[in-house]
Symmetry: C2
């Protein structure tokens, strides 16, 4: 597998520079691989910071901007950023109202973001942390990984912060989303590490892997490739037992190498399956939101919504990777 890159050791730094160059009105690159809003910190607003290993673009820097995050911190590919770098992101995001860290549940990320939280608190910044664990392919809740559902946490917590809610309330609504949101993914092909060129796992032609992670982790099960309706039924079969409430947001998320046409096809069958099972889709998403380099595959995320969550989902947002405009514009 060959990549468009200059050299593997510069994969992340080149990518971060390119992102900042492509969106100069909106994004600013700090020393090191940290991206902030060019107009931040926003006075009077609780700050939101996310990040983690790279390779998940547009997550997380693509969500920096109005209505979502204030800063994103990049580690190397699939590697947690160090606490000092996260601290820089926190400082850039804090306008005096404190900062919420939105962290995916991987031990390296949780440890490093927690250390950065302590460092920031020693400097007098109020920091809270919310850990996303939406991947149902892991049985034990405490071991569940943070995957595409993280983007909906960014969106809803970001909208609450933009609406002027204090840090405590922004954290509470992030926790509310985390308690509800569930995801499971599959792949038709693995991703390849820039440095080694090695795949995360090997798949034969005509095989697929169910329950994969977003770092090349193998899944629960390997089986022959099936038609889209069978795949979406299988994935939803793992999500619906944890989704009692019938009004949901549905996200069909591509893994980086999946064309939109296939995501729209998957969306159709997921939506039809949900309808037949008595669910109502209050808000839908189909696109590449939380990827694993060039992996070909997708995940389905379900978020049971109420009026509060739906209002925040539909609030305006303008970022490189996500947009939501006011109705009627």
């Amino acid at each position: 597998m060959i990549k468009l890159m200059q050299e593997s050791s510069r994969y992340v730094s080149d990518m971060v520079e390119g992102l900042a160059l492509a969106f100069p009105d909106r994004l600013k690159k700090l020393e090191g691989n940290v991206i902030t809003r060019s107009d931040g910190p926003v006075k009077g607003k609780a700050g939101l910071v996310s990040g983690g290993g790279s390779g998940h673009e547009p997550a997380h820097a693509g969500y920096v901007g109005d209505g979502m995050l204030d800063a994103a911190v990049f580690g190397e590919v699939f590697t947690s950023p160090v606490p000092d770098l996260i601290l820089e992101g926190i400082k850039a995001a804090d306008s005096g109202e404190g900062v919420l860290l939105i962290v995916k549940n991987y031990s390296g990320d949780v440890i490093n973001f927690d250390m950065a939280k302590e460092l920031a608190e020693m400097e007098g910044i109020h920091v809270e942390m919310a850990v996303v664990n939406d991947d149902v392919s892991i049985e034990k809740t405490e071991d569940r990984r943070g995957v595409a559902g993280t983007v909906l946490v960014h969106k809803i917590a970001g909208a609450a912060a933009a609406a002027g809610k204090p840090l405590s309330e922004v954290k509470a609504i992030a926790e509310k989303v985390i308690s509800r949101v569930r995801t499971i993914g599959m792949a038709l092909s693995p991703c390849y590490m820039p440095e080694s060129g090695k795949p995360g796992f090997e798949l034969k032609e005509q095989e697929m892997e169910i329950g994969i992670g977003i770092h090349g982790e193998r899944g629960l099960e390997r089986k022959p490739v099936a038609p889209a309706a069978d795949i979406t039924a299988e994935l939803l079969g793992k999500l619906l037992p944890e989704t009692a409430q019938k009004e949901v947001a549905l996200m069909v998320n591509g893994m980086g190498g999946t064309p939109l046409s296939e995501l729209y096809i998957a969306y159709k069958y997921a939506a039809e399956h949900l309808k037949e099972a008595g669910y109502t889709i209050k808000k839908g998403y189909a696109g590449n939101y939380m990827t694993a380099l060039e992996m070909h595959g997708f995940s389905i995320t379900l978020l049971p919504v109420d009026e509060e969550l739906l209002t925040y989902l539909k609030a305006p947002a303008s970022t490189a990777g996500f947009h939501e405009m006011e109705e009627g514009i």
Copy 2:
């Protein structure tokens, strides 16, 4: 190569249904594979219609919405839609102010859109047509294909129409963009037809193809894969001789299977090369805008801009595949 799909004969119709299901507030599917604005036709506004073969998502239906297109018409994969279907798109887009057809320069598309224009005129609808031919990998201008530059035609003509310009002026500004915009692409891997599973061309590992089309067409030249800076320099070497004016919009467009991280890396080297050559980037784009199924590769588009074009590029737009918000929102 395996795809996420139900069956190849339903690839396009399933995809169109999925798109309409994912964006029910904004998009409406007509009988046949036509997508229109759910609130269209917009009173008092010249209508914009585009389309062509499928497989280029988000082009063109992803650009239906505020500030861009009013309708998009899908043929089967890489196959022009028939005139009757295009006529349905024209009717849905016309509010009485007439309709501009934005067509990529392929003989099938040009013939079929032209026939639809005649049919619509027999029904009393004023129709104009603009043919995009931005691909410099073909030497003779009249044979040049329409590729990613088409999206900038959608954006600028769409903004002019949204600003209330009459059809004649909308067409004139589309022609102004077409006279200036230039694109060239490359691929690290081909795309595969849903029906046959066959690739458009064969590439060995470590080979790349320069000057490819967006339908699996082979390129000008095959050579060993090079570092990103060399590739962007080679592509820009073919664009700059046709780009005398120094203020440009730069689009780095993914071919469908290219992760954003690689597009940002390509953007960085393209931007640096342009700067060294004395160009100023007034507006930048990096993303998947005009794709070829799951092809791994990218194209570079340059559009020399003046105040008028830049104002329309920066005007608000809200569609599934493209967004541009007013500054400060």
